[in-house]
Symmetry: C2
Subunit: 499 residues, 2 copies
């Protein structure tokens, strides 16, 4: 086969694989929003079948020959072709060692596990979910053995979500954060507690939906290229660049939750909606890593969406919709209520400063799960102990504890650390964005296009065609440096709390 | 290969094919309810890819050998295995002659055509849809040439939806109906017109949704094995026996439309929800033909859902929900309003007596389209002329004319005749059900389970494991006889109109 023929084979593979990924995304969306429990068993069979197709499409001698040939001749490839070849080469080597029947069975398990988690959470009964979690962990450990690992077995999973990330780096990253954040939290704790009681008055949920729809559009979510729905745990799902969906969860007695989670998910969605259109149906048409993805959701949620400038523009409308609840609350008070630092139980409702501590709990649990043969029934207590230790509060129910996150039910172990990394990337991006744009003026005027354009130009457009380190270098002119994050937190909260 | 190995191969094929069908159903559901227009092109590529998979999974030498072997040895197969083998053997021979690239391109076209139809309908502009319709027709004609046909080329399409149906039979069937129905309609037209104005008062649509949800459950729709949504044109989609979904369209100024379409779609859904569970993920787990399917939707919509007995039970609740609109309307008047015979433009809102005339228009148009090289831009006029001729009224817009049905945009030509056939089957089923059950007493008491059980026992459970003729023979002890339908219409409307 000639080089050109190998390249054509790669492109055909990319379309077939991306079509299967599209289907899996659609199943994922549907499973989380609409699917019937009575149809679960059949759905599991069907999903197992797609996974098998996914496997056999990639893992065969013909594809192996093409990928090997292209990687051996990478100097002859253009950047885009190289990015694709590299991506499939890595994926090939990641899964070739897993027997396809086991992988199919695992995918089927995930659907059931996800429903079990939903039920367990609803009934606040971890034991419903436990046997599924145990099975999921069993599969992941077996897969790591098949795949091999360097250093800690958990490294293999970390690398899946954030290429290059390791337990050693995480240990340094988290201890660094702890060192800077704990004193900051302590200082803030000495301040008078903020009276946030107005945020938990009764807020009509239909109006919340109307407002969050408004806010998503205000920050440039393209409603003709996606939609918004509701689910137990907010998430974003990209079927294609032109069909990016996310969900929100409305709580009657919490106006901040739906607003901030909507801004967060919109950040994810904007990334997916603004990838280079020319990539087409391709594995390049999606965010490159969980960390970079989370940097986009967090920069909108925290850096912009909790700033005074942003709310000067958007608060009057909210106030108008809830005159009884917010009529006497000024924008400074509202913004301060969005930036209250207070240890709490639910990760997705945590403030920006204590948030990394929630991640640290999960990171340490996962590291343990992956290195020891722990009884899953012991996990809730361990979870609660760690919350007590790091956040000073103890969950009184598993619903508000270990059952709060969907991730483990979907086999997403190794994913959480990227959330904290995302916030750190976001701080670095914002720092450099401010060299090019008057961010505060734009936020205050509701001019979100220049901000989106900056992010699209520096980050979004590349999709998965550049690796995380390249993206950061390209956008900021330097390598990742976590001190931007700690500097940002210190400056922002010193101002809010007059430290 | 041994017989047992061929049977295992057949079962593996069945699971793979049914998984692809499941995915296509999910895409269909999603395309009609949620998908973004900007993602249409990518979606088209993905659907083309699934179709190609569908094609290559079935059409290959190995499968051909297995199907040929099993059909050559059918006397050695149990009924279920034979039914599966026969079904795939027919499908193999139906599509083996179509080049797979053309079929894939056709499936991609259908997605776009469907969106074009939606837009054309919204803008009341047939020219938006015309080029797509022309292309769809072109493909279907080419496919018929590939597949071959006996007698009229349209026969090949009729047989797809109702095995064994031909133009000759249809011509006899429709001329028979016309002979009996036209005089009936004329007689009714001599009666005083019914004052139905109360049905087009303003009916809050949220309450309509609440009521139609109630009615669907009242007639035994299992909400844990499916869901209800909204779309431009109501339809039912079965992903699996445990996940059967349907849609309704609410019109503020028409209380009857959503109610009767909900009962209709529930009839379809009940068929799918009550197929033998043991069939699993299989091509047997779906209704056997469009005609039998339509008999189940129509028996609920018309035979039960427009009867006085049924409304004696369910009208009080509706009256209670709309006291201003219905407070002074008694159940007899309400039931009569549901059975008003009056020629109208919209098929899905037509009464039971003129309904077959709507089908006749479509039947004659399709027969013509399939036999002549007609300019698609002439179709709207032809449509309008036929409405004038058979129903005595002329559409003033294409939206209320040729653009009203989704079918042609999805390539469903040959489908419509089964609607009329369905009503005729329904009358025959009801006639025999009344020998076993006191149907009126059950309806009046709201006891819908015995009715569902009769239908499940005689029809639903078999899924596609028996052919339509077998189902009818099995359920009624005789072959299909259209006079049950004309007798039923005559008796029912003589009573309502005191003829």
């Amino acid at each position: 086969m000639t080089l050109q023929e190998h390249i054509e084979q790669l492109n055909a593979l990319d379309l077939r694989m991306s079509s299967l990924t599209y289907m899996e995304a659609l199943f994922g969306w549907d499973s989380m929003t609409l699917a019937s429990k009575k149809g679960l068993e059949q759905r599991g069979l069907v999903i197992g079948n797609i996974s098998e197709l996914h496997f056999t499409t990639l893992i065969n001698d013909e594809i192996k020959a093409t990928l090997d040939f292209l990687m051996d001749n990478k100097e002859m490839l253009d950047d885009i072709t190289y990015a694709k070849a590299n991506l499939y080469y890595k994926e090939f080597n990641r899964i070739a060692k897993i027997p396809k029947e086991e992988y199919g069975a695992y995918r089927s398990l995930i659907t059931k596990s996800n429903h079990a988690w939903e039920e367990a959470r609803e009934k606040d009964d971890f034991s419903i979910f436990a046997p599924f979690l145990k099975e999921v962990i069993g599969y992941l450990k077996k897969f790591i053995e098949y795949r091999g690992y360097e250093g800690h077995p958990y490294n293999t999973l970390l690398d899946d979500y954030e290429p290059g990330l390791s337990v050693e780096e995480c240990d340094i990253f988290f201890s660094n954060l702890r060192e800077k954040i704990v004193p900051l939290v302590q200082k803030i704790s000495q301040c008078d507690p903020v009276d946030n009681s107005f945020t938990s008055l009764s807020y009509d949920v239909d109006k919340q939906a109307e407002y969050t729809d408004y806010i998503a559009e205000a920050i440039c979510f393209d409603k003709e290229a996606g939609c918004i729905a509701e689910s137990a745990h907010p998430f974003t799902m990209n079927l294609s660049r032109g069909d990016v969906r996310f969900t929100t969860k409305y709580h009657e007695n919490d106006i901040l939750s739906a607003v901030s989670s909507t801004i967060h998910e919109t950040g994810h969605a904007l990334y997916e909606q603004n990838i280079n259109e020319e990539f087409g149906v391709s594995a390049l048409t999606t965010g490159v890593s969980m960390g970079i993805h989370e940097s986009q959701s967090r920069i909108y949620e925290n850096n912009f969406g909790r700033s005074l400038s942003f709310w000067k523009k958007h608060y009057p409308k909210l106030q108008e919709m809830y005159p009884e609840q917010l009529g006497s609350i000024d924008v400074e008070t509202f913004q301060k209520s969005m930036n209250t630092v207070k240890p709490s139980l639910i990760r997705i409702e945590a403030d920006e400063v204590t948030y990394p501590l929630h991640i640290m709990v999960r990171y340490e649990m996962e590291k343990l799960i992956m290195s020891e043969d722990i009884d899953v029934m012991e996990l809730p207590k361990l979870w609660n102990d760690k919350y007590q230790e790091y956040l000073g509060i103890r969950p009184t129910s598993d619903k508000d504890g270990i059952l709060q996150d969907v991730h483990w039910s979907e086999g997403l172990i190794g994913y959480f650390p990227s959330y904290a990394l995302g916030s750190a990337y976001a701080a670095q991006f914002e720092h450099y964005m401010r060299k090019d744009l008057d961010v505060d003026a734009l936020l205050e005027e509701g001019q979100m296009e220049p901000i989106l354009n900056w992010l699209s130009d520096k980050i979004h457009q590349f999709g998965s065609a550049k690796e995380p380190a390249q993206i950061i270098q390209n956008a900021t002119g330097q390598a990742f440096d976590a001190t931007y994050f700690t500097d940002y937190l210190k400056a922002k909260y010193s101002a809010i709390y007059n430290l």
